[in-house]
């Protein structure tokens, strides 16, 4: 039902906004999306600019802000930004590497009922995780999980980018999350930002994609956001959005206020404006790149029996792997099944 509305009409404003509140980070992950983009090196918005932006989000009735970076906990005024969102009734979801979390900070976050926290861990063992995210990052992230659990944060998930090198540990990560009373969130590895350099080494094999599809059917409590609708079976159809939400439900605001359709489409080609110069509402309605994504017609997909489940997959992956937007997702279940 939602697909029908989103395909035919433009929403008045995004439902949720991915807001990278800083380009700074204290880790150096090999598959980082944000590293290497121009925005990662631009300055961050000031607290006053953030407040004005949140006022605007409230006015246009954005429901949720997904706060990321860089590492959002590096912003000393993060709690003020969160408080201000909550004051306006906006739900926040913080995506963090977790290494700066201590009891004191965890306690403050746990007292914020409108906050969801996602901690990134990319392996069920320190060896696997640290090879990807850096020495010592597994132990520190897990300590962050423990602090949040101890303080009683309810909305906690462990987020893992599924890679060729951690694929065999996915179920162990699921058990780890359960042990802490957290949810498991699996994210797709997309060749954007620095991840392009690691693509050959890290992207899933055909066999792994097929196994992942079966795994997600078996473990329906695993959250996937918009990551895997191009590979999942009918039985997950109602567990999330089955189409790309970029410029239809969501958009991304970079640390310097630049707006893009999605965090994975932060290329000059998709630049849509800057919230310091133009209200997001106007950018949302008028930006050429947004309207381009809304009007994409993937001819090769229309006859596909999976079209209802997938709607052509992720344009970001198509853009980076095929330099096209209107082609099928190169890693969709149908495309990989046709590969010999």
């Amino acid at each position: 039902m939602k697909q029908e509305f989103l395909s035919s009409k433009t929403l008045s404003a995004p439902v949720n906004v991915t807001w990278e509140i800083t380009g700074r980070c204290n880790l150096n992950c090999r598959h980082c999306l944000s590293a290497g983009t121009a925005q990662a090196h631009a300055g961050d918005l000031s607290l006053e600019q953030c407040r004005r932006f949140i006022d605007h989000l409230n006015r246009i009735r954005v429901f949720q802000v997904n706060i990321g970076g860089g590492e959002p906990l590096l912003r000393e005024d993060l709690l003020e930004i969160l408080d201000y969102c909550h004051l306006k009734g906006i739900v926040t979801c913080i995506s963090t590497n977790g290494v700066m979390l201590d009891n004191e900070l965890a306690k403050k976050l746990a007292r914020m009922p409108l906050t969801y926290v996602q901690i990134s861990i990319d392996g069920a063992t320190p060896e696997t995780n640290d090879r990807i995210r850096g020495e010592g990052s597994y132990a520190r992230a897990l300590q962050g999980v423990e602090c949040l659990t101890r303080q009683g944060l309810r909305n906690l998930s462990i987020n893992t980018v599924v890679l060729r090198v951690n694929f065999r540990e996915i179920h162990e990560l699921y058990r780890l999350a359960r042990f802490y009373g957290a949810k498991t969130r699996l994210s797709r590895f997309r060749p954007a930002g620095r991840a392009r350099e690691a693509w050959q080494e890290y992207h899933l094999t055909k066999q792994q994609i097929l196994e992942l599809s079966a795994y997600l059917s078996e473990y329906k409590d695993v959250l996937t956001g918009d990551s895997f609708f191009s590979i999942t079976a009918e039985d997950r159809k109602n567990l999330g959005l089955n189409m790309c939400g970029a410029a239809k439900m969501t958009c991304c605001v970079a640390p310097d206020g630049s707006v893009y359709p999605c965090a994975f489409l932060q290329e000059s080609y998709f630049y849509a404006g800057n919230v310091l110069e133009q209200p997001l509402e106007e950018i949302w309605r008028r930006a050429g790149s947004f309207n381009l994504l809304r009007s994409l017609k993937k001819e090769a997909c229309t006859a596909c029996p999976r079209f209802d489940l997938c709607h052509g997959g992720c344009p970001a992956v198509a853009f980076f792997l095929k330099q096209e937007l209107d082609c099928p997702d190169p890693e969709c279940i149908r495309q990989i099944s046709e590969q010999e």
Partner: protein, 85 residues
């Protein structure tokens, strides 16, 4: 005399869209799309989170009440009685 009003349940947000109403549940971040003539619903629902159903007569009256009942059934509105002094 009691008067009926409709309120958004705790944790439910709503906004008006071209297709109708878009609800958001802060407890699980789920969205509900409801196809309806949004102009039938008074602005007080998105502005204050409540509405009083009176004052809609003619052909629209029954349709409007039907929409409200349906939204109550789906847990997107609650019906409350308040006493009119």
């Amino acid at each position: 005399m009691d008067k009926i009003i409709y309120k958004l349940p705790c944790g439910i947000r709503v906004r008006k869209e071209a297709f109708g109403l878009l609800f958001y549940n802060i407890k699980d971040t789920n969205l509900t799309f409801v196809k309806v003539d949004g102009d039938l619903i008074p602005d007080s629902l998105w502005e204050k989170g409540l509405l009083a159903p009176e004052g809609r007569g003619g052909r629209e009256g029954p349709k409007y009440l039907q929409i409200l009942k349906e939204l109550v059934k789906r847990g997107l509105l609650v019906e409350t009685r308040i006493s009119e002094q």
